[in-house]
Amino acid sequence: MAYEENGALQSLLAARGVTRRDFLKWCGSTAALLGMAESFAPQIAAAVEGAVLQPQAPALWINGGACTGCTESMAQVDTPDVATIVLDLLSVNYFETIMMAQGEDAEAAKADLVAKGGYVCIYEGTVMTGFEGNALRVAGKPQVEELPEVFENAAAIVAVGSCAVDGGWVAANPNPAGGIGVLEFCKEHNIETPVVNLPTCPVNPEWVVAMVIDVLYLGALEDLSVLDLDEFNRPKGIFGQTIHDNCSRRGHFENGEFVTEFGSVEEAKGYCLYAVGCKGPQTFTNCPIVRWNGRASWCVESGAPCIGCGSANPLEAGGNWVDVNAPFLNRHRDIHVGDWVTQPTVVGAAVGAAAVAALAVHGVGMKAAGRMDGGAPYEEMKERDAKKGGGK
């Protein structure tokens, strides 16, 4: 949309029933998402307001070996009015799941933008290399044939969802379709376009909005350090703490109050799910803060132990969340913190003291809990971890 006069944002907001106060509040929570103090809210507001006066920034949304869940998730963004404004600031000229065009006309829209370059490429799903790339064919050829140019010409790539980060469940053993993540594909093809990784399955839409603002309006394209990424190219503000750190059921953990069977009285009371296999202590996302579906709830609040769908390791094959965290409902003796694996030697009916100590050393910040009778069985050292020398 062309917004030429001052106050364009205000009239846009008004047309959608969003008050200035709501908008600033939203900017504050976006600041928090980006790992900044809420006092940065006015800067974000200024950036968005400034952007309204600019032509829309071009973007492509590419679906790889995807279930379309990340697109679905984007439709569930909180405060849709304001977020839509932000997304309206993008011109998404190619987006298979929702675009009006089809066939050759859709491909032409993509080709035009790729030729121009300078767009943000949002990639959903796994990069499919199997069967010479024929595991995913688009427009009569393997998708991987066009990806080098699409990635190369992009100003930045946002890999949304665990599949795009490291192949996700598709790359889980035995990975029959040759699934890999975007970063690995770029490395194989010597593509140096910056990649921002946003794992979880699907991606949490609030993070995508935050990254779009970050990449486009807060100067990240000029200075990548603004993004403040960790070694896995994840924004530290989002993926710097474990679920356990911020869990609303954390108090029950400290008190030694655990759910040992689903549907129980303890479950109704909202006790800690660690004993039924919760992967919160080893999973680094801010789900408990941002929550899901317009902040309606999140996994643990619905009584379900975290399955660690945000575990992702784009640097090492086999680091996908399924291989790392399954069996999901068992407690693991071998515990992953990033690519570090340990197996405490002393495990009894209580939370293993060695595990607790190990987690504490690695900043997970777990405290010794009381005795736990019952609960899910412990999982012996998994084969893949044993091979990697876990338990040392």
Partner: protein
Amino acid sequence: MARTIVDPLTRIEGHMRVEVEVEDGIVSDAWVSGTLYRGMESVLKDRRPQDAFYVSQRICGVCPISHGHASTMAAEAAMGVQIPEGARLVRNIIEAAQFLHSHILWFYTLGALDYVDPVKALSANIADTYALAEAAGTRVADFGAVAKRLTAFVESGNLSIFTNGWFGHPEYAQDMPAELHLIAVAHYLEALEVQGDAAAIIGIMGGKFPHFMTSVNGGTTFVPTEQKLDDVLYRFTKVVDFVNTALIPDTLAIAPYYLPALGFGGGTGKFLSWGVFDKPSFKADERYLPNGVITSGLAVDNASTDNVVEWVDHSWYEDDNGGLNPAEGRTKALWTDYSTDDKYSWGKSVRYQTTAGSGTGEATEVGPLARMVVAYVKGVEPVVDLIDSTLAALGAPGQPEVLVSLLGRVAARNLEAAYIGGLSIDWLVELIGYIKGGDVEYFKAHDVVDGKGVGAWEAPRGSVAHFMDIQGGRIAGYQVVAPTTWDIAPRDADGVRGPMEEALIGTPVMDAEKPLNVVRVARSFDP
């Protein structure tokens, strides 16, 4: 013969190619190709039965609830576990929220642009738009603001997701008033918000959507409280209101301009439903949308997963993967080349045998049309009433056979949403009553035992079945027959077309470069 290719077919879940042969402006042959293989079955092998629920639902980001339920039902069947009454209601409610979410999303976000031209809406008179909305009994919006926003958008010349759309295509109903186009655009925007409410219901009861967490083997981890159910009821009320005041009246308002679509797009006229939404009996033929199969005329039989057979003559799998029931199924991919004369799809050709183990089987359509026809023939009263009144409104009273068409398939989906909308509120009120009475169970503790089980259920887009074989506490075999596998099936061992391929035959094509009716028929299956 001239071939027309649409690849990628957009506005669907996943990746698909449609190829048609056009003779004298009519489709004379068709090939539909699923162009993505991920290998879910191989990934699940050797894992724990309780893990399949979490992983297998990731086949589809638009219908994960149904896949999750089919998976957990397969495990429960294999282990002989009966879920308690509280879990039945919780699962029905979550499933209903997904159906409503999906059907609203299909009609407005995915389907509407094939019938509604946003550019035509630009010339709408605002006062007339309000008058038309009132006359059509459909929801009023701030039509002036929508028109203004739309105008600014088009004038910017930066069309974003509308880039290269087939604006002004001659196959848009030429006599459909601009005001009706504007109403539809307004509801297109509103639907985005309403689908979010439907999804948030799953967020509350399932942890998140897409991909939910609570329907574990044995029941549900979600233990409802009055406060949470109040929140859910509030959201359901909003969603159901939108179905009744926008989705249904919009369908009835737009349909009269597309009556020729009652004359093509029908397909095989054979239908399958595993049934969905359990009653306390947990019997598939007694479900709110019952199990049933129709392979000739309007005679309905009980459908059994024993009668399913998959062929790979035209699919990229090893030849010995063909001719098997999924319980014995194998999935060994074999890429050759894309050739409509030989292999041309990653989808297997799934068929329903009228006698288990005998013959190539029938190309049965699955989805809302199949479910509604099965329920209609079985005399499910609310469905009979909905269909009969709609047929009368479309000028075809007493002629249910016209439903076997493009327009019928679109209408059936929306009528199903109306039926499920009413049911969902009933279940919620029932569940609220239960928790006030106390003593409701939500989970049945059980040991993992070996066995074989099938979970046969329905997703919004059609019949879904998961086949699980547990040996030594591990998954020894896992097969999924997804809804879209039925509808986009390639030719079978006898060279007989799949349901979507067959539905494309006879479709009028005015412009071979822009075959609007072809994409309408393909999308009507919500593939």
